[in-house]
């Protein structure tokens, strides 16, 4: 693995994360690990139908049961103008998917809670479910929401299309006239689940004055506070949320399911309530990501210049509006400098769980379509797929398909690095197919706060609000060590609750190392300013006459004074005499997150008897801007690659005709295991982001984008024909082989 040239002391090193020991010894507390005295157990009743009107709910037996303390339905939530989230957490007039929650109980034990749930009688009027985008778009389709009008336009008739998205530039018809080769295909991808290993879990405790304390696993404690406030119409100041360690999220823990329910149950019971989803509930009622249909038409002239591109895509939103079709549309052509294109997208309601964000939400599906089509173009042109992409690659100054000109981006650098990478130069053996694809994600900044507290011995505590989902504490400590000029080992990072640190948006959008990192750097600079002020006082100088160098306050060159440099530790030790403890703080709304590009390629074999695809090798090249802790950057690249491989080869939501998910377990929804995949080779490219003091770009989401098409293109190479739809699971591959012969 190539290392970037090092110009830093701490940044770019690979120390052990500060929370590591707790995590390898079982001492770290995750969502389900928290308990309170007198705690009750909450359980949810879920719909056995994908689409039904709720005619009546009889709770009497449950309420009368010994050991049951509270029973609720949506009638116990505020009645006016419920948000989609509220209706998703507890159904109102209709249940909209199989597994949709519609009542909940809190009881002394889990078994009593379960018994109480089973005693609830619901009268349903079963309705015909809408189970795919095709069915939802049909003229006589049943309506998931009878009041939904496309784009909120009252002049339209109600439909299942919540929104339309459109982008265009130039003249596609003329562009296609100039094309010597055209590829036009349709690609379908079913829903996949984020598949975090830790199910959703929380404990809620509401006191006699209505103040709620909530402990939960989430990507953002402040967002949970907002959601509870919105759903229950409770004052923000009456809600305190403490984030536990989080056992994976990938976007799936950016929203809430059980937290407001637990709060309401606790409020009525007068006792703390714990709710832990089981795996089946996680599959049936949380996540997943959109199932999609994408049609792409791309044309290129004989020199390999793409002259026009056209895309149409439908993204299933689940039972409520809000699929990531917009980022799907914005990302599909993002790697290319296109003069002529049209992109149309639809956000489509179906009777399936409301989709949640999943790592680069929307991009893997649409970019799988484009990257597959570009691969076919390369074949028609008889051109190396990296060369074809280099000819059309977006670079600094290129107008992105969604409008603005790109600032410095690293796509061309990644493509060039890939082209000369030994894993690419070495051609695959016979019967081994290689596929290449590029990935992209926007990245976001948003709001973060950080405080720095300095102990008298010079030890530093960073207090921040970004749940650490992949080693971000280590990155925060490295940036603080670099900025302050002190050893990494003297710094610890703590994730605060909503009352012990300033507001912080969630861990997501690849923003944590970039935005919270920026806040940490600024807070360190605040401490440095104070250190310089104290040193200046000590030396009878003005603050402007003092510099900060590698952890020492020194008189600025030219200042005529005999003074020993004052170390950070010395300044911390004497802080009591010089004005009190050293603290620093900063808050940011970080802008200019900087787009992140990648290039992936994989070598695969296909067993023609079983239809099983084996990934023999996988290489990921990605622009990190600057890798703060390279091991955790590689970790994102490797983890994203394997999630993408899983999506490409095996993972899918399989529904029966009634809209019942047939594979709601890790046995039947099979995510990759250790023996399914090879080592994932990584090369980090560093094209620094000008908007961050150390050049950081987010790296967390881009890695899942390219593996879908890279794998599909590799399978295409082995088979000699393309399987357009994912996943390329053994039954699909066998069927394709049968059809081909």
């Amino acid at each position: 693995m190539a290392e970037a040239v090092r110009e830093f002391t701490a940044i770019g090193t690979r120390p052990i994360r500060p929370d590591g020991v707790e995590k390898v010894t079982g001492k770290a507390n995750f969502g389900a690990d928290f308990s309170l005295p007198g705690m009750l157990y909450g359980k949810v009743l879920r719909s056995p139908y994908a689409h039904a009107r709720v005619k009546g709910i009889d709770l009497s037996e449950a309420k009368a049961m010994e050991g049951v303390f509270s029973v609720i339905t949506s009638a116990d939530f505020p009645k006016e103008n419920p948000s989609d989230m509220s209706c998703n957490i507890l159904a109102r007039e209709k249940v909209l998917y199989h597994g949709h929650a519609l009542a909940a109980v809190a009881a002394r034990s889990q078994s009593i809670a379960e018994e109480a749930i089973n005693s609830i009688k619901v009268e349903y009027e079963v309705l015909q479910p809408v189970l795919s985008a095709d069915a939802a778009l049909a003229e006589d389709a049943p309506l998931v929401d009878e009041n939904l009008r496309t784009n909120g336009d009252e002049s339209f008739m109600p439909s299942n299309v919540a929104a339309t998205v459109h982008y265009e530039r130039g003249d596609v018809d003329k562009g296609f006239e100039k094309a010597d080769y055209i590829v036009e295909e349709e690609y379908r991808i079913p829903s996949a689940h984020q598949g975090y290993i830790e199910p959703h879990a929380c404990v809620a405790d509401v006191n006699e004055k209505g103040r709620a304390s909530v402990w939960c696993c989430t990507q953002g404690a402040f967002e949970v506070r907002n959601y509870i406030s919105e759903v229950l119409q409770k004052k923000i100041s009456d809600i305190k949320v403490t984030p536990s360690e989080i056992g994976g999220g990938f976007g799936g823990k950016t929203v809430v399911y059980v937290e407001p329910v637990a709060v309401r149950l606790s409020e009525l019971a007068g006792r703390p309530v714990k709710m832990v989803m089981n795996r089946e509930e996680v599959f049936r009622a949380t996540g997943p990501c959109s199932a999609t249909v994408c049609r792409v038409k791309v044309g290129a002239n004989k020199d390999g210049i793409i002259t026009a591109a056209k895309a149409w895509m439908a993204y299933e939103a689940g039972a409520f509006p809000g699929s990531p079709v917009t980022p799907g549309c914005m990302s599909i052509f993002a790697p290319y400098d296109l003069k002529n294109f049209v992109i149309d997208g639809l956000d489509v309601l179906v009777n399936k769980p409301k989709v949640a964000a999943y790592r680069a939400p929307g991009a893997p599906q649409s970019m799988h379509a484009m990257e597959s089509a570009v691969d076919e173009l390369a074949r028609k042109l008889n051109m190396d797929p990296i060369d074809l992409r280099l000819k059309n690659a977006a670079d600094e100054g290129t107008e992105a398909p969604y409008g603005p000109k790109y600032p410095a981006i690293g796509l061309v650098e990644c493509l060039k690095a890939a082209k000369v990478h030994p894993n690419y130069v070495n051609k695959p053996a016979k019967d081994v197919g290689r596929g290449v694809a590029v990935g992209f994600w926007f990245n976001i900044g948003m709001q973060s706060s950080a405080e720095i507290w300095v102990a008298p011995n010079g030890a530093v505590t960073i207090m921040e609000g970004s749940p650490d989902i992949g080693g971000s504490r280590a990155s925060m400590c490295l940036m603080a060590a670099e900025t302050l000029g002190i050893p990494y080992d003297s710094i610890n990072a703590v994730i605060g609750d909503t009352e012990s640190t300033g507001f912080c948006n969630l861990t997501g959008g690849s923003r944590t190392t970039f935005a919270t990192g920026l806040a940490v750097v600024r807070a360190c600079e605040d401490v440095i300013a104070e250190c310089k002020r104290r040193a200046a006082m000590t030396w009878d100088l003005d603050t402007e006459q003092v510099d900060w160098e590698n952890g020492f306050a020194v008189p600025r060159p030219g200042v005529n004074i005999e003074a020993e440099p004052l170390s950070f530790a010395e300044l911390a030790k004497t802080a009591g005499r010089t004005g009190g403890p050293l603290v620093g703080r900063a808050s940011v709304n970080a802008q200019g997150a900087g787009a992140c590009f990648s290039v992936n390629w994989t070598d695969v074999t296909v067993d023609r008897d079983t239809g099983k695809v084996d990934v023999q090798a996988f290489t990921a090249v990605q622009d990190a801007g600057r890798a703060i802790h390279p091991s955790y950057v590689e970790g994102q690249m490797q983890g994203g690659a394997v999630q993408g491989i899983g999506w490409a080869l095996n993972e899918e939501y399989i529904y029966d005709d009634n809209g019942v998910l047939e594979n709601a377990s890790f046995l039947d929804y099979r995510i990759p295991v250790a023996s399914d995949v090879p080592m994932i080779d990584c090369q980090i490219v560093e094209v620094p982001n000008p908007s961050h003091p150390y050049g950081v770009r987010g790296v967390g989401e881009t890695p899942i984008v390219a593996p879908l098409a890279a794998t599909a293109n590799a399978v295409r190479e082995v088979l000699g024909f393309r399987i357009n739809d994912l996943p390329m699971s053994p039954p699909r591959v066998l069927e394709a082989l049968d059809n081909a012969s």
Binding site: I16, V24, F30, G635, Q638, A674, M679
Partner: protein, 161 residues
């Protein structure tokens, strides 16, 4: 429903618990003994987050009924490190940054240690198949496999020197 009396040894300590007959060993460990290091990811034996050793055999503690553990010796993630500090597997997982969220890590620690106790010199394929019962969604397994390989090397070096 009358409770069942279970006596077992957990991480070297004798324990006595009254539990419900349908309760799992996982629930016994987490709810009765408050050893929450062992995690529940699925409850159906598919994810390996609840992996413990029972009489030196790897089991998914969610699939073992608590009464079945009567008279057994159970080792959980809390029993892997000793007074000398972290086990080499734990240390190598940290050095290789082989965990991201860390919720699957307890299961990997127990399973990887059991592998090295049995087979001090496993090749990559052996490690991958041995750990195939432990799901990790964050790392793509690369760094976990390397950490176990490195741990095996280090164990070999310390036993031969």
């Amino acid at each position: 429903m009358s409770k069942v009396h279970v006596e077992l040894n957990v991480n070297g300590q004798p324990e006595e618990v009254l539990c419900e007959p349908q309760q799992s060993l996982l629930d016994l460990l987490r709810d009765e003994l408050h050893l929450t290091g062992t995690k529940e990811g699925c409850g159906t034996g598919d994810c390996g987050a609840c992996t413990v050793l029972m009489d030196e055999r790897l089991v998914c503690s969610c699939l073992v009924l608590a009464p079945e553990a009567n008279g057994k010796k159970v080792v959980t993630v809390e029993g892997i490190a000793d007074q000398n500090g972290l086990h080499v597997v734990q240390q190598k997982l940290l050095e290789h940054a082989a965990l991201q969220c860390g919720v699957c890590t307890p299961g990997f620690v127990v399973a990887a240690k059991a592998l090295l106790d049995k087979n001090p010199d496993p090749d990559e394929t052996t490690i991958r198949y041995w750990l195939a019962g432990n799901l990790c969604r964050c790392t793509g397994y690369d760094k976990i496999i390397r950490a176990v390989q490195d741990a095996a090397q280090e164990l070999k070096a310390t036993t031969t020197s």
